[in-house]
C-alpha cells in the first residue's frame, strides 16, 4: 500500500503561540486512521493544516506523493481533500440544498453526478431532504452536523478528514454514522478521523495516533492502543472501565 497522506515534522502556530510541534503521521490509501487526544491537544489544528486552512511554520504535508504544503485550501480540495470542520460551519443563509450543491463545487460541470450524490446524501440523512429548502442556519445542531457531513461527501474526496463527526448527534444516528464512515471507506475513500468518542473511533479505525499538547505520544493499531493504560485512563474514562 502506498501512502496517501504523509506529514513530517509539522509545527503549527496561531500567531506567536505554537500549538503543535513536530507532528508526523501517515495515512495509507484505503485506510481509516483515528486521531485522538484531550481538549486542546491540537487535533483540530492538525486537520486544519491538512486541509490548508493554516500554513505550517515548519514541516511538510504530502498528498498522493505530491508536496502540497504551499497549496491553498481550494487547490487541495480539487486534489481530493475534504474536511468536515469543527463547529460544522454550514453556510447559514444558504438553503440545505445549496449547501450540498456547493459541496460538489469541483464537479459543477457535471449535474448528473451531483444529482446522484445528492440523492445518496438524502438517502443517508432523510432529515436533510425534509429540510432541503430551509436555511441551514435554522437547522438544529444535529441536523447541521448531518449537513456538514453530507456536504463533504458531495465531493467524493480521496481523503475525508472528519473533525468529530458524531458531535451532537443522537445515539441512534451516531451508530449509523460510523456505519456510513466504514461504507464510504469501503467505496474507496481514505479517512482521517478525529473523535472524542474513543471507543467508537477505535472500533472504526484501523490505526490511531494519540496527541498530547501538540505532539504525538503514541501510535499504532487500534487494538494495541486500546490496551494502552495511558489511553484508557485519559480517554476512555470511568464509564468505560466500569463497564
Amino acid at each position: 500500500m502506498s501512502a496517501l497522506l504523509e506529514i513530517a515534522g509539522l509545527e503549527l502556530a496561531y500567531g506567536q503561540v505554537a500549538v503543535c510541534r513536530n507532528i508526523s503521521l501517515r495515512l495509507d490509501r484505503g485506510e481509516i486512521v483515528a486521531l485522538i487526544g484531550a481538549n486542546g491537544a491540537g487535533k483540530s489544528t492538525t486537520l486544519r493544516a491538512i486541509a490548508g486552512l493554516l500554513s505550517p511554520r515548519r514541516g511538510t504535508i504530502a498528498f498522493g506523493g505530491r508536496d502540497v504544503t504551499a497549496l491553498p485550501s481550494y487547490e487541495r480540495s480539487k486534489l481530493g481533500i475534504a474536511l468536515v470542520p469543527e463547529g460544522r460551519r454550514v453556510f447559514p443563509f444558504l438553503t440545505v440544498r445549496e449547501n450540498l450543491e456547493l459541496g460538489g463545487f469541483n464537479s459543477r460541470k457535471d449535474p448528473s453526478t451531483l444529482k446522484r450524490r445528492m440523492e445518496r446524501v438524502f438517502a443517508m440523512f432523510p432529515r436533510l431532504s425534509e429540510r432541503s429548502s430551509q436555511n441551514a442556519g435554522t437547522l438544529s445542531g444535529g441536523e447541521q452536523q448531518m449537513l456538514a457531513l453530507g456536504r463533504a461527501m458531495m465531493s467524493e474526496p480521496q481523503l475525508l478528514c472528519l473533525d468529530e463527526p458524531s458531535l451532537g448527534l443522537a445515539p441512534i444516528i451516531v451508530h449509523d454514522i460510523f456505519q456510513t464512515i466504514r461504507a464510504i471507506n469501503a467505496a474507496g475513500t481514505s479517512i482521517l478521523l478525529v473523535e472524542q468518542n474513543a471507543r467508537h473511533a477505535f472500533e472504526t479505525a484501523q490505526r490511531g495516533y494519540v496527541l498530547q499538547t501538540g505532539s504525538v505520544i503514541a501510535s499504532g493499531s487500534c487494538a494495541t492502543l486500546k490496551r494502552d493504560p495511558r489511553v484508557q485512563e485519559a480517554y476512555l474514562g470511568r464509564t468505560a472501565t466500569r463497564r
Binding site: 486552512l53 453556510f91 443563509f93 444558504l94 450543491e101 456547493l102 438544529s140 447541521q144 456536504r151
Partner: protein, 294 residues
C-alpha cells in the same frame, strides 16, 4: 392638475429610479458578497462618466463604444484598487478598516479627478440625449429610455447570476464564510476580486449611462451615492429584487415630492421613509430570512 402631469411625473420618477438603481447595483453586490460598504463607488461612477466623455470627444467613435470603454476603465480601476488596497486590508479581518479605506480612496480619487479634469462642469451631449419622444403630451428622451432598458437588463442578468449559477452561489458562500468556502474548492480571493471588478465595471458603465444626465464634474457621483445607499437599504442589503423596487419607489417619491411639495424636501422624505421602513421591517423591503438557531 391633469393626469398628464401625474403620468409624466411617474415616468420622470421611473427614469430617476433606474438611474439610482444602476448605481445601487454595484453597491449591493459589493455589500452582498464582501459585506463592505463602499463609499468610493460614487467615484467609480464619475470616473466612468469621464472615461466615456473623453473617449467620445477624443476618439469620436460615438456614444455606444464609449460605454464599453467606461466599463473597461471601471473594471481596470476596480482591479487596481482592490489588489493594492482592499485585498491586503481584508486580511486584517476588521470590517471597519475597509470602510475607512473606501473613504480615503474616495477623497483621493475625487481630488485627483479635480486636478485633472477641473471643477467646471462638462457638457456631455449624445445623439440620444437631445432626441425626445413625445406622445400624448408626455415626453421622455431616448437617453432615458436607454437608461431604463440597460438597468432592467443588468438587473435581470445579475439576478440570474446570483440566484441560479454555481458561481453566484459560490459568491454567497464566500460572503458567509470565506474559510469554509475555500474547503469547497472555491477560490475566495478570486471571487472577491471578481465581485469587486464586476461592481466597478457596473459603476463605470453606469457612469457612461448617467453622464448625459449628470452635472458632470469630479463630484458628480457623490450627488447620487447617498440616495443609492438609501435604495440599497430600503431594498435590503444584497437583495437584487428589493433594490429594483426600492429604486423605483425612491424615484417616484422624488418626482412627486417635486411636484406636490418641494424638491428641497426630497431627501427628508426619502430618508424619513427609510427610517420608517426600518422601524417596521428592520431587514429591508424584501428581506432575506437571516435568523439562526441558537
Amino acid at each position: 392638475m391633469t393626469t398628464t402631469i401625474v403620468l409624466q411625473q411617474a415616468i420622470n420618477g421611473i427614469v430617476l429610479g433606474s438611474l439610482y438603481v444602476l448605481v445601487a447595483l454595484g453597491l449591493t453586490l459589493i455589500y452582498g458578497v464582501l459585506v463592505q460598504i463602499n463609499f468610493a463607488h460614487a467615484d467609480f461612477v464619475t470616473l466612468g462618466a469621464f472615461a466615456a466623455y473623453f473617449f467620445m470627444h477624443l476618439v469620436g467613435l460615438g456614444y455606444i463604444p464609449s460605454i464599453a470603454v467606461a466599463l473597461i476603465v471601471g473594471a481596470a480601476m476596480g482591479w487596481l484598487i482592490n489588489a493594492s488596497i482592499f485585498t491586503p486590508l481584508r486580511r486584517k479581518n476588521n470590517e471597519l478598516l475597509p470602510l475607512i479605506a473606501t473613504i480615503g480612496v474616495s477623497v483621493m480619487m475625487q481630488n485627483l479627478m479635480l486636478a485633472w479634469f477641473g471643477p467646471i462642469p462638462y457638457a456631455f451631449e449624445t445623439e440620444f440625449s437631445r432626441h425626445v419622444i413625445r406622445f400624448a403630451g408626455i415626453f421622455v428622451s431616448w437617453q432615458n429610455v436607454i437608461i431604463i432598458v440597460v438597468s432592467a437588463l443588468t438587473i435581470a442578468l445579475l439576478y440570474v447570476f446570483m440566484k441560479f449559477t454555481f458561481l453566484g452561489k459560490a459568491l454567497r458562500a464566500v460572503s458567509q464564510d470565506r474559510e469554509t468556502a475555500g474547503l469547497m474548492g472555491i477560490n475566495p480571493n478570486f471571487l472577491i476580486m471578481l465581485t469587486f471588478v464586476i461592481a466597478s465595471a457596473l459603476a463605470g458603465m453606469g457612469g457612461a449611462m448617467l453622464a448625459p444626465v449628470l452635472v458632470l464634474t469630479p463630484f458628480a457621483g457623490t450627488s447620487v451615492i447617498v440616495k443609492a445607499f438609501a435604495i440599497v437599504i430600503i431594498g435590503g442589503f444584497g437583495n437584487v429584487e428589493g433594490t429594483i423596487l426600492a429604486g423605483l419607489i425612491v424615484g417616484l417619491i422624488e418626482s412627486y415630492t417635486t411636484q406636490f411639495l418641494n424638491p428641497g424636501l426630497i431627501d427628508i422624505v426619502v430618508f424619513a421613509l427609510l427610517l420608517l421602513m426600518l422601524a417596521i421591517r428592520p431587514t429591508g423591503l424584501i428581506s432575506e430570512r437571516r435568523e439562526e438557531n441558537v
